[in-house]
Structures are given as structure tokens and as C-alpha cells.
Symmetry: C2
Subunit: 284 residues, 2 copies
């Protein structure tokens, strides 16, 4: 977003892009349920009248009880309806458990959640009802580690990897760089898919374009898609679907029951990009 800041040169790139201090979303705080600084970040859970419990990391909304389904369903289900037989799934970040809950709706064999911050897990267990049952599921393994280091060292290969990172500031910086995606590719099975959140199409267009440029060198199919997320800035969000062999619009199966947002029409619709995003991606 080009904003005419007097102090443009003095502000680091990430701060310029990932905070839009002149506009945003406000939540009235009914109650502060939790507030602490972990080894990695500031963690807060507040209670809001409309959205219920809201998780904030370093002041940015990560998820809320009432609207979490938009983001988590749209992060997870597009890859799972597109892959021919997904069995082993890796989830990097997403310690709040919303994406894990969606993954476990599928008849997969193994879901590995790699979260850097044990304290995010502990807090989410306490305040978000979906995390504990997901962690107790026999198919789940929780690993507390840096996602970037994990994919470098693990010998395992996965069918689908989800990167449910926070924005490129704080502990998630490395998850937004070209290096990370190169290493990630070596953890994918031949028909593997990686899906990452990619920021706001309205506020973060420049960083989305930069990411697209390096992703197109790494993957044959780089397919951006969008979804509404009421509590993220700008109200809609970009995701990117990455694969050498799998194309997202060749649907392999229908979604599980009980979803509030995702269906196969929405799947196809999400990959239709508006004119201002049209030059992104290689796969469609």
C-alpha cells in the first residue's frame, strides 16, 4: 500500500507494510482474559461482545471464536479436496488449533502440528475449545519447534503442508522467505501441496507480488485465492496454493459435512481473482 508518510525512510519495511496505523479494526474489550509476554511474542486473549474470545499476538488479531471458520476452512479445505489421497499432513504455526480442527475432519493418517511457542498452545488450550480435543486425537503429533528448522531436519515427507503463520514480523519472519519455501519443497511428496496464508490483497499487495515472484521459480502451479475474513484488516485475505503436480481446480472429492463456509462452488470461486490481482500466479 503506498502511503505518503513523511517519515517513510525511517520506518522498517515490515512495519510500513504490516501496520496501517491510519485505519483498522477495533474491538471493545469486555474483559482481558490473558496477557503475557512469551519468549517470542506478546500474547493476549480478550473477550469481545460480538466476536467472543479473540487471540492477539503482538497486537495483531490471529483468530476469534465467532469468525475463525472463514480463515481456517479456507486455509485447509481447498488443498484437501484437490489432493488425490492426502494421508500425512504438516501444519506449521497455527498453535491456536483452528486449522488442525479442520484437518482432522478428514480421514487422514497423521497430522503434525509444529508451533514455535509452547505458550500459545497452553493459552489456546485454556481459551479456545477446539484445541484440546484436536491435540488428544490419536492422529495428532505436537512438536514445539521453529518451523523453518523443523523442515530442514525432518526426514519425513508430507502430502500437504499448511503454513498458518502470523505476518512477517516477529517469530514468523523466516516463514515468508524464499529459503523457507525451497526447504519446504523437499518435504513434499511427489504430488504434494503447500498452502500458505499470504496477507491482505488490499494492504499487502506489494509483498504478495514479491512472494509470487520467488514462488513461481520454485513451483509449477502457484495459485492465489482469496476469502473473506471479517476480523483481518481489509476484511478479505489471500492464500497461495503451491504444487508441481496438483491443480486446485481438478477437484478430487467433496468436503466433509458440518462446514460453515466452504463448499465446492466456493472452492472454484475463491480462485477467481479480481483485475488488480490478475497477474499473480502461474497455475490457471
Amino acid at each position: 500500500m503506498s502511503t505518503k508518510k513523511e517519515n517513510r525512510e525511517a520506518v522498517p519495511l515490515e512495519e510500513r507494510e504490516y501496520h496501517s496505523p491510519s485505519s483498522g479494526i477495533f474491538f471493545k474489550v469486555k474483559k482481558i482474559l490473558y496477557r503475557d509476554k512469551s519468549d517470542y511474542q506478546k500474547i493476549e486473549v480478550i473477550e469481545n461482545e460480538c466476536f467472543g474470545r479473540v487471540l492477539l499476538l503482538d497486537d495483531l488479531v490471529q483468530t476469534t471464536e465467532k469468525d475463525e471458520f472463514f480463515y481456517h476452512e479456507m486455509l485447509v479445505h481447498p488443498a484437501l479436496v484437490s489432493h488425490p489421497s492426502p494421508q500425512n499432513i504438516l501444519l506449521i504455526g497455527g498453535g491456536d488449533g483452528g486449522a488442525l480442527k479442520e484437518i482432522l475432519r478428514w480421514p487422514i493418517k497423521y497430522a503434525c502440528l509444529v508451533e514455535i511457542d509452547q505458550q500459545v498452545i497452553d493459552v489456546s488450550k485454556e481459551y479456545f475449545p477446539w484445541l484440546l480435543p484436536s491435540l488428544e486425537d490419536d492422529r495428532t503429533e505436537l512438536i514445539i519447534a521453529d518451523g523453518s528448522e523443523f523442515i530442514e531436519k525432518t526426514g519425513k515427507k508430507f502430502d500437504i503442508v499448511f503454513i498458518d503463520s502470523s505476518d512477517p514480523a516477529g517469530p514468523s519472519v523466516s516463514l515468508h522467505e524464499s529459503d523457507f519455501y525451497e526447504k519446504l519443497k523437499s518435504c513434499l511428496n511427489r504430488r504434494g501441496i503447500a498452502v500458505s496464508q499470504a496477507g491482505s490483497p488490499f494492504y499487502h499487495l506489494e509483498s504478495i507480488k514479491k512472494k509470487d515472484a520467488f514462488l513461481e521459480k520454485l513451483f509449477k502451479n502457484v495459485c492465489f485465492y482469496t476469502s473473506p475474513v471479517p476480523t483481518y484488516p481489509g476484511g478479505s485475505w489471500c492464500f497461495v496454493f503451491l504444487s508441481d503436480e496438483v491443480q486446485p481446480l481438478k477437484i478430487k472429492r467433496g468436503p466433509p459435512r458440518g462446514l460453515k463456509y466452504f463448499n465446492l462452488n466456493i472452492h472454484e470461486a475463491a480462485f477467481s481473482l479480481p483485475n488488480f490481482l490478475k497477474d499473480l500466479g502461474s497455475g490457471d
Copy 2:
């Protein structure tokens, strides 16, 4: 949106639904450019660093320089690509001129803008650069009148009517009622289409369902569609496409050049509804 307000019974329905005081969008005011109370409503234009000039009526954001294209392109172009030969267009509300600008991109014969509040026109002429050239276009007629009274009295018939109203509080209340749509139908040519903004799918779901119920008694095709609008609460918005003869997914022609958001893939995608909206509409 069901919110557990202690004072629920004391708050009129419209206020409960159309304000969500516990969350929302904030704009830092760089400068107040205009602030007055007209015969109908409070009118303000502020300058914001990210969104440029922002028009507010009775404290609700109507349009901004930077993101107006999402809403105005998505209000106008779906009907114009679907109608077999649109010539005479009526626009009720929309005194800021954003929708009129989009209508005039098409080779139509006549565009009639009916706005209740002359002061909105005067203010928009001064602060939003697209209004004046649109009013000076030979095809435009501006009528200052109540939209509901206008459609009752005019003998004219139109191919497409757009209802670019503010929310159902203040001067727009009558534009959200069954009576209005009954009268509206009598102003439509046989293959006519009406399109109206219908509120936030997240915040206003109950009122959208009520509107759907009476619209389905009046029109054969009642097709809801959605679009991101960064500066509206929840970040995405509902529109409804109404017609007895025309179906929105039977596309008649491509859009004009120069659009930032709309294209034919987006047109089709917009009519794909998420599960929580799926029981709306009759036409698909």
C-alpha cells in the same frame, strides 16, 4: 447478529442490527474537510492517510477514494453483463456518484440518478472527482426526490434499477421494505433487473433473510451475491439481483475496459454462496 445485550428490548431493531458498537473499522482523521447536518442526515467528509477522502452519512462510511471501486463495480456491472440490451437505467441513492460513474462506462441511452439529499450531491461534487463529469454527461438526469415517491409517480420504465441506499436507518428506511420493491417492479421493463445492496453477510444475516423472504414472493429470480468491500463492517458485502426473466449467470457480454475489480470470472464467483448463506435466493 445475535448479541447478548442487557438492554436488548430497549433498542430499536434497526439500531441493534446496523450498529455493532463492540467492534468496527476505525479511520484516523487527518483532516475534517466537511461536517454539516442536512435536512436528512449528518454529512461528513474526512481525509484519511490510507483511504483518502471518506464520505460518512450519520456516522456510517459510504465510500472512500481508495476502495470505492470494490463496491461500485460490484453493484453495477453484474446486471449490465447479464441484461440483453440495457438502455434506460435508474439509480436510487448513490449521490456520491460512484455507481453512476460505473453505469456511464456502458453505451446506454439514459441514466437517471434519484437522490433525496441535494446536500450529498453538492458535497460529493466538491470532494469526489468522479461525480461532476458524470453529472455533466449528456445521458445523465439528476432528480432530487425521495426514491420511493419517485418510483410511485414516474410513468417511465427502466431496464435496470440500482438501489444504492444507505442502511435501513435514517432517510433510507423505506428503500428496504416490501412495499418499495412492489412499486419498483412496476417500473421495470419485461426483461428488467433490479439490484440492491443488502448489507453485511456477517453482521446483518437476519435482516438479509427477512428481505429474501419478501423478495422471493415478488421476483422469480432472487440471486444474492457478495463482494469484498474493505471499508464496510466485516469487509464483505451482500447484493441482491432481482429479475423475472433474466438470470445472472447467462452472461450477455463482457465488461468495459479499465475496471479494477470486476471481470467475468469474478461475476460467476460472486454468486457462489458460502454454506451459511446457501439457503438464500431462488434463482440458482
